[in-house]
């Protein structure tokens, strides 16, 4: 207790010091140490379900984490853009094609923003999209299986940051470039930065299958397109992208891209773009990009390369994009549930600007333009402004909405969440976060109908919040109850990787349609076996294909002879179980690949190239039954050129 008191005091002192240094905002610290009541509000009893699924990007882990709210319990890490040897993601023959790009196999990426598919402006629980920031890609993850089903590379883009935000019915998922580059990319001096351009990509999503196609790209001035959100209701036809570096700096951006008093929110009329494309006004441009789809029937990913993309040049077409001046180096770009307010998170601004959609339309109709940039009208700030949130704190980044007339903005520099009214833009509450909040999330908080109840802070720094673990500390989430007038901190929980954006929906939207098994009758994998009778081993030159099976608790075959050094052995293992939560593992000594983790009814393949003669055991690496330790087998490997016949047990 004494230690706890000391630590609380230390925390208080730190918070106080922070506030003193910042000098203006006065935090309400009442939530610190408010543990008794808080514990019960975040408590989910053993065996009970959480109320919400919380999907949190893994940032530099490249994966998507799934937590429960309010407990903060981690349920699953879904591999998306990075290999995962635990699940054989990027190691099995079936999943390797998912990570293919125009640069070849890319084993890692930086996943920033998950975005749920929507119908009528609210999450429909079908899919969640994710962006790869480094090698630009968008992924689609299926929410019945919690698996990545499709990855589409984005050409003419570099730093896919303003992505993958979707329109109200997921007609499109967008992908705006953070780093402008020459389009088409070519070998030019970096001093030619002035000529670089940006691309805002619109990906069409099939309503039934979810399949993605790059419908068109809008070529725009070479700023850094940072974040986005779609309009709603009256602003349905519009997508809004924040952009900074209107200075077009190529070096020392922290100084050189922070010169202008205002940068922009780009308002793109995607309906109009769609019309132009339909009228044939888009140009077909050569481009090389990967499209990878996981086929459910064969349980195998297919990788194809695309060769062209339709582009609309914003400098040659009118009525499709307008720049709204926004102070200063705006980051977040968030639309309130009504679709009227567009909130810019000016990282370096001293206010939070709230733009009005209806005023923007009036300004466009009245052609009240301050100037043109590359033939794109720049609107007047005051003409579009609904109001400014005064003295919100320092470093506004992102805003979410509770559906009850309030907005919540994360303040990175002053480490706090600020709650303000959408009626008069006045601050009504503020609460410290520990420390340096980036994104924040309210369940459904970027949709037409927020569920409210909680806001979660995703923090960049934890310092003294958890037991030390050497130089690298966990990052964290903090859960606040927002059901009352005052935000109340009720839980801290550590996160994987670095959490950026997140989404949450009521568990009822997803849990009952969760897939339990893959029916064997539907398995069309070319190397599957329907029963042990079909298990066999075949040689094709130096390739050896094992058509194997696994069931509690044995492999068939489990003794194989006639494999030679220099062979490439393909273990195609079908899990014959048809019961929920009974995966089997497969691992063999010295493999330069990962294990397999095979779900009931699934077939997975791992390759193994034995280096030396001898007896090589394999075993099940997922504890499957009381006789799991007995679930093993042997492969006899003979020297290259040996004439030991290929044989196996039935």
């Amino acid at each position: 207790m004494k230690n706890r008191l000391l630590s609380t005091m230390a925390t208080l002192m730190f918070a106080t010091v922070s506030l003193v240094i910042i000098g203006c905002s006065s935090g309400d610290d009442s939530s610190i140490g408010d543990t008794g009541d808080a514990a019960s509000r975040a408590y989910v009893a053993p065996g009970k379900y959480d109320e919400f699924y919380n999907f949190v990007s893994g940032g530099f882990s490249g994966q998507l984490a799934v937590y429960g709210l309010p407990s903060g319990r981690l349920f699953r890490v879904i591999p998306v853009f990075s290999v995962d040897p635990e699940k054989a993601w990027g190691y099995s023959e079936e999943t390797k094609p998912m990570l293919m790009t125009s640069h070849g196999f890319v084993p890692w990426d930086d996943f920033h923003h998950p975005e749920l598919s929507m119908t009528d402006g609210v999450p429909d629980g079908k899919w969640i999209f994710g962006n790869a920031n480094n090698t630009p890609r968008v992924a689609r993850i299926d929410l019945a299986e919690f698996r990545t089903k499709e990855i589409l590379e984005i050409p003419n883009s570099s730093g896919n940051h303003s992505s993958p935000f979707t329109t109200e019915n997921s007609e499109y998922v967008v992908a705006g470039t953070r780093f402008s580059i020459p389009i088409p990319n070519e070998d030019v001096p970096i001093a030619d930065r002035e000529k670089f351009r940006g691309a805002l990509s619109f990906i069409k999503v099939d309503k039934t299958t979810g399949h993605m196609e790059l419908a068109f790209q809008l070529l725009v001035p070479g700023f850094d397109y940072d974040l986005a959100h779609a309009g709603k209701g009256p602003s349905h036809d519009w997508m809004f992208f924040s952009c900074y570096n209107s200075e077009k700096a190529a070096s020392m951006q922290e100084i050189n891209a922070s010169q202008n008093d205002k940068d922009f929110i780009a308002a793109v009329n995607w309906k109009k773009c769609e019309e132009y494309v339909a009228q044939g006004r888009a140009k077909e441009m050569a481009a090389t990009y990967a499209h990878n789809i996981f086929d459910d029937a064969t349980q195998t990913a297919r990788h194809t390369m695309k060769t062209s993309v339709k582009v609309l040049d914003a400098s040659e077409l009118s009525d499709i994009i307008y720049y709204m001046p926004t102070p200063k180096s705006p980051h977040g770009c968030d639309i309130d549930p009504s679709g009227e307010f567009i909130v810019g998170g000016g990282k370096l601004a001293t206010v939070i600007p709230v733009m009005s959609y209806s005023k923007m339309i009036k300004a466009i109709e009245a052609k009240k333009f301050d100037k043109m940039i590359d033939n794109i009208p720049v609107l007047n700030y005051k003409e579009c402004l609904a109001g400014e949130v005064q003295k919100p704190g320092l470093g506004p980044l992102h805003t979410e909405f509770d559906g009850n007339g309030y907005a919540y903005t994360s303040m990175f520099v002053s480490s706090e969440i600020v709650k303000w009214s959408l009626k008069d833009f006045s601050v009504v509450d503020r609460v410290p976060t520990y420390y340096s909040i980036g994104h924040l999330m309210i369940p459904g908080g970027d949709s037409k109908k927020p569920y409210g109840k909680y806001v979660v802070a995703y923090n960049k720094i934890t310092k003294d919040r958890y037991l030390p673990t050497g130089p690298e500390l966990t990052q964290s989430a903090q859960l606040f109850d927002i059901s009352g007038d005052k935000m109340k901190l009720i839980l801290d929980f550590p996160t994987i990787g670095e959490p950026h954006y997140a989404q949450a929906v009521p568990a009822t939207l997803i849990k009952d349609k969760s897939k339990k098994i893959y029916p064997l009758a539907e398995n069309k994998h070319p190397y599957m076996v329907k029963s042990e009778k079909e298990t066999r081993v075949e040689r094709k030159g130096n390739e050896v294909h094992v058509y194997g099976s696994a069931i509690r608790s044995h492999f068939k075959p489990d003794n194989i002879e006639g494999v030679r050094v220099g062979d490439k052995v393909f273990f195609h293992v079908t899990n014959l179980e048809q019961d929920w939560d009974v995966p089997h593992g497969f691992s063999i000594i010295g493999n330069n690949n990962s294990e397999l983790l095979i779900m009931p009814g699934e077939t997975l393949t791992v390759t193994w190239e034995p280096k030396r003669a001898g007896i090589h055991p394999f075993y099940c690496s997922d504890f499957c039954s009381a006789l799991h330790q007995e679930m093993t087998g042997y492969v006899r490997v003979s020297p290259a050129g040996s004439n030991v016949p290929l044989s196996w047990n039935k």
Partner: protein, 149 residues
């Protein structure tokens, strides 16, 4: 499936039941006899098998058996699970159907099944067989049983 869950289940079984050795091989014990008054666990409460054997059902049942059961059961020898050549003559039709369709309920409640788990140690998986297929498997096992009488 965690080790804890399995151990907990085994412990429960050990405490609550007392089983004769090799209960499956002794076909004359009371627990093994198909008794109409024995409590039925699982969702199938009554199966009318009829006096004859339906060959088309046997054929379908054999196919399902090959895919979903044969990895652990043979007809005339103990394998991962018990030999099933005479199971239809030793157990009630309801028992056979519930073992396939409502495996977890049977493992947790039926005294015979509890004893079998002690002997074989591997829990029989629920193989997601539908009721029609389970009935066909029963018919196939009836045929196998009849051939062995």
């Amino acid at each position: 499936m965690t080790l804890h869950r399995i151990l907990a289940m085994l412990a429960t079984v050990a405490v609550l039941t007392s089983c004769g050795a090799n209960s499956e091989t002794k076909t004359d014990t009371a627990a093994d006899m198909p008794k109409a008054e024995k409590k039925v666990y699982g969702k199938i409460t009554k199966v009318d098998v009829g006096p004859t054997i339906d060959e088309s059902m046997v054929k379908s049942g054999h196919e399902v058996f090959e895919t979903k059961c044969s990895a652990c059961h043979k007809m005339d020898e103990r394998y991962v699970g018990p030999a099933l050549g005479t199971v239809a003559t030793r157990r009630t039709p309801e028992y056979v159907m519930n073992m396939i369709l409502d495996t977890e309920t049977m493992i947790q409640n039926d005294d015979t099944v509890k004893c079998l788990l002690q002997e074989y140690l591997v829990q029989m998986p629920n193989q997601s067989v539908d009721e029609k297929d389970a009935r066909n498997v029963l018919e196939y096992l009836r045929k196998e049983g009849a051939e062995r009488q």
